[in-house]
Symmetry: D2
Subunit: 410 residues, 4 copies
Amino acid sequence: MLSATCLEKYRRVRQQTEELCQPLAIDDYQLQTMPDCSPPKWHLAHTTWFFETFLLAGNNPSYRPFHPRYNFLFNSYYEAVGERWPRPARGLLSRPTVEEVFAYRRAIDERMHEWLDPLSESSLESIRPVFELGLNHEQQHQELLLTDIKHAFSINPLRPVFSNSETGECSTDQRLHWLTFPAGVRQIGHIGASFAFDNESPTHSVFVPSFQISSNLVTNREFLAFIDDGGYRRPEFWLSDGWATCRRLDWSSPLYWEHDGGSWLQFTLGGMRSLSLDEPVCHVSFYEAEAFARWTGARLPTEAEWETAALDEKVIGIFLDSGRLHPAQSGGFFGNLWVWTASPYVAYPGYHPAAGALGEYNGKFMCNQMVLRGGSCATPADHIRPTYRNFFPPDARWQFSGIRLARDIA
Amino acid sequence: MLSATCLEKYRRVRQQTEELCQPLAIDDYQLQTMPDCSPPKWHLAHTTWFFETFLLAGNNPSYRPFHPRYNFLFNSYYEAVGERWPRPARGLLSRPTVEEVFAYRRAIDERMHEWLDPLSESSLESIRPVFELGLNHEQQHQELLLTDIKHAFSINPLRPVFSNSETGECSTDQRLHWLTFPAGVRQIGHIGASFAFDNESPTHSVFVPSFQISSNLVTNREFLAFIDDGGYRRPEFWLSDGWATCRRLDWSSPLYWEHDGGSWLQFTLGGMRSLSLDEPVCHVSFYEAEAFARWTGARLPTEAEWETAALDEKVIGIFLDSGRLHPAQSGGFFGNLWVWTASPYVAYPGYHPAAGALGEYNGKFMCNQMVLRGGSCATPADHIRPTYRNFFPPDARWQFSGIRLARDIA
Amino acid sequence: MLSATCLEKYRRVRQQTEELCQPLAIDDYQLQTMPDCSPPKWHLAHTTWFFETFLLAGNNPSYRPFHPRYNFLFNSYYEAVGERWPRPARGLLSRPTVEEVFAYRRAIDERMHEWLDPLSESSLESIRPVFELGLNHEQQHQELLLTDIKHAFSINPLRPVFSNSETGECSTDQRLHWLTFPAGVRQIGHIGASFAFDNESPTHSVFVPSFQISSNLVTNREFLAFIDDGGYRRPEFWLSDGWATCRRLDWSSPLYWEHDGGSWLQFTLGGMRSLSLDEPVCHVSFYEAEAFARWTGARLPTEAEWETAALDEKVIGIFLDSGRLHPAQSGGFFGNLWVWTASPYVAYPGYHPAAGALGEYNGKFMCNQMVLRGGSCATPADHIRPTYRNFFPPDARWQFSGIRLARDIA
Amino acid sequence: MLSATCLEKYRRVRQQTEELCQPLAIDDYQLQTMPDCSPPKWHLAHTTWFFETFLLAGNNPSYRPFHPRYNFLFNSYYEAVGERWPRPARGLLSRPTVEEVFAYRRAIDERMHEWLDPLSESSLESIRPVFELGLNHEQQHQELLLTDIKHAFSINPLRPVFSNSETGECSTDQRLHWLTFPAGVRQIGHIGASFAFDNESPTHSVFVPSFQISSNLVTNREFLAFIDDGGYRRPEFWLSDGWATCRRLDWSSPLYWEHDGGSWLQFTLGGMRSLSLDEPVCHVSFYEAEAFARWTGARLPTEAEWETAALDEKVIGIFLDSGRLHPAQSGGFFGNLWVWTASPYVAYPGYHPAAGALGEYNGKFMCNQMVLRGGSCATPADHIRPTYRNFFPPDARWQFSGIRLARDIA
């Protein structure tokens, strides 16, 4: 790895984050409309703090932080790094201002440059895992920045438009067909020298019974049939916790859908649109995905099934890079929408988180969450791979999450 | 009343509001750190909406609103005017932007000018009550804007400074003495043609037993003695609801005090300062005021007692106009700090709220609140008078509220 | 006061409490269906603890408590007496059993007898205030025992019947007329040697403007007209806090009313009954009473007005002693239903609570509550008097509370 | 299956439930000290309702229920059977009384006898699955009845004793050793004609890597070492949700432990006892079990590992039948304490819940819960088997739950 390559990668990822913020007014940078979301300003600062803390400070015992309180303000959840500003209150801080946060980014970018530039190849090699983690971490926050601002804009009665870039239909209207896989012991998980998160390792054997998996994502048309059949009013389709959530939050459609007279509208990053029936259904929770699957007589795939099916597929689809910021029915297993699997997020056999703060990155969340696979229209294209494990609680709906069905072979 | 006078008054009050915002960054305008507080942006828009709704639209059946959704966004609590954006969510709206809100102010100011300018004296006379209400309403929000931004800044670990205008000691260090008043039937409430809120009327007779009232506000030194004597740990001084609140919120000092090693600091609009012992104690709730009074063996004055004592006093003191934005011990009954009275906020005998939306201004809040009197360092000097009744719930601490003692005559 | 008289009084009051429990199954004694209510078992034990603590132990330094933990379990709210079992959890204790609680009562009754019997008249005189407080305290709990069990039974889908003693109509169907009183300074509060609670003192002068007060309680018929006119859906009648409570708790009628097809039913201590239109409306909060009054164009009386009107009236009406346990329209100012006044519960001028634990009896509750007057069908007849001040928070509905109107004289 | 056998089984199980209630006072039957727990009275009625609903009514279209409201009161969670009384309010119903509930049991027992007695063998065969489900269901509630009354008694300051039957030490003090199992594809799940719950099926292949599992349960001594090493104060051992729960609920030891001066006490069904160091640690949540395991450097077993290890073991250990009602270190994989596994509770491949209400028995809970294995000292001995899957949320502590460690083979 050459220092120039590193710097180029670093510049590109960092710049991409800031380009995403282009459509925002200063007023928008501080919005936090639910505890799960973070303000754009916080994403900008936190990703910067990550490089400062784990690379600049982590490799220089005499490093002097850019600001004495930023570690407190911009640490997300690393207990080993110390106390933090409470997550649900991230939207309550007007200072540092947006201008100051961009100045923070520039300052850390300069320090990164000064530090990386003279590094030898062998030194670069030793810091590569954390450096690449920092880049991938920032890419994750690019997606979150979009999903969080979508939520924030959605509740504003003025219905702000984030971006008008989505243009026209993109559906290829493929006929759904079932892809069939025989039973067998499969090798699951990441292998090789390229970057992957620790939760994708180690590779291990899983006995996967024979199964079928759908070639397509479930569409709005199909999901509307579920709604019209009383899907949100009939407990027999739902898990017990799902039904309780559905009643408590008074769900009657996916997030961001609105009934307007006789027709359905959908809030998108391009503002309110009429619902396109051929597009894949989006912003559903695991509970809704699971209930829908049960209603069809099928089920959700396990993550081993999904990985088995996706392993040899090309990683193509609608990603962040397309600028569309909205899913399409483009075929394939990647992009457009994360799909909920039937698998709770647990450690792979033999998994051990790293020692120290970075061991908290993934491992400590292995409870009460479900695995999602495949990436979405808000995921950078070079961020995804077949072994990638995303995870969210079963009631989460603000991510670009959809449904792909599987079924047993009789 | 001449149109020129009206316009001059209008311009002055409106301008004063905007001048108060001078120290704010755009980032600060959206802060809402508790449901009782509103963002500066909201104060700016709501006071404008008040003029638009009750004067421009109220006097012109064919009036076209500046923006179709602003009535929904900026109506505070007028049920008769329609649905509203929920109060605790005022900080969650990034749009309209600060720039757009200032444009709204300018547009309404122009419309007000165009409407008022050609009005005859007799027409002006007929709209005068609502016009003056609008100005006094905006002045009330000037004070709230300051108390709300003080709260918002206080929770920020960076401890922002709003204004450095407070300069030096201002204490006159008067010896406390008790002013004595004999028993008798007093005339309480507003009388005359000058402006007053409806809750100050009608004038009515109240039998006020003989009493003494302190010439001074209680100081930080005196309040510290209460703390040092276990004031926040000894239930015998507290009302039952007060003690429950004290325990639940873990109070151990007035709001904005912080213990730092051996000394006390206090957050002010000028940032963190060391506590000045001769200054009047500030940001206490009714519960704390009442507990302190009981500890001293005295009590809080009733509002009739306060008005009896203040009626012939000059309305001088530290007001918003001084730019100090912090109380001092300046003597007299006005300015510096609102003082809690022992009187629940109820209607005066014979009080009837006006018909229609403006009847909601004061009357519907006559329950579960306590009366405060005298104005504060954040009150415009020409906004206050001896009969003025302010009111807040007994646990409220974020206003500039202090303590003046009274006692029975043995 | 003779010891025999004391013992006779004591026996009578204590026995009356136990007789009230006659209809209860052991299963009923532990019910606590909301934090404001207490289980019958707790009432039985707490009133006993009161005598044990403030008379037996209070007058004998070497007194050995009946049980070492009962002071913790049965202290209601006396901070000076020590820690307590949390109020909302009173229904979670199965031990001591009902049998053990009755044994506790018998044991303390015996100790009281042994202690009182030989006391000299002068000794009796010195303990009389607390002794009579104990008896009046137990009478207050007799009423609470009934209101609490009524609430507990009301939520049970089996609709248990507590007592069938209410028989037939009792309404005298008097025409409503307004009683008129001229303005003047009135002497308000208790005077004389007979027992009264400390909050009824001292007597003091109040200037009471001229007013009219209704001879009758508001009836169900009248209240239904309010409901039919949209009373529970029109915010213009309500105080702001009242309207928020009405919306939050989804009120659409008084407590214990149920709509059944075309007609109204009402849960009573005699089970479900059809609503009698001529009976006085019952189980309304202060908020509902105030809204109803505003709807009629009248208002609620202040407590000084009520006392002025009731002072020379005979203390007759439907009380606990009638066994009816349900209000009737019997005329007069006493019994049937407590009436909400417009007066917040505050100290009378010159009031000072006693030192020590018994000073907590009334004084510390003088905030956030409204005064009620006159007693109810669940109040012992010899417990009430014209100066008696009852008090509950403005949203309380489970007491036997009704409405009497007043109005200004034009 | 003969009718006599059925009736004998039925009588035995039903009688065992009632015998468990022997030590209870009537006052104890209604206790519900947290929403997860149910009152003894409710357990007694609900298990009866199960037979009435799914056998008597389920096989007789013209069946007339014992009481028209009992279906509403005693349905636990079967959406298909209709509306239910809310679970957290089960302790608020004093009626039906204990006596009436026992009368309900007797009446249904008689109806069951009348119905079963004349049934032919083939008819019996057809109802056998539901009949056996009813018996196993009642056995599950026998365990819950004990864990729920333990919780209810534990919070009572009088520390009631449920049963004194536990006598002396029972520990065999075996040295811990690790049992080793090679990697391989294992057949997991129930097979054969004997009764098992639907969630134990179908049998299926699982690839289980090589592992070691402890021969013993973790002891109080071992767990104390974790506490003494700051186990409850060091986030590095905990899952993120676990740490949040630990902080929120202020955990510092297993449930029912109390620090008394220098030593630890433990509340048991025999009352407060001093903590026995050689006994297995009990009443820990999954979060604590997981944190403890991480602290030791080992981990929890997956359910496939546990089943692999237990499959050929004898089903012996301390069960309900011993009357001890407290765990011991008796060796073996069964009884004493349920052990938390690392496995979230999900469907086995090919699992499909039955149609209708009984399909809700297990399937709809397959989310947000963890699997426990092996049975406890409160489980009837004939109720358990190697494939048995119990499940509780990861924060549950009131069950008899403990820890067995596993580890990878290097």
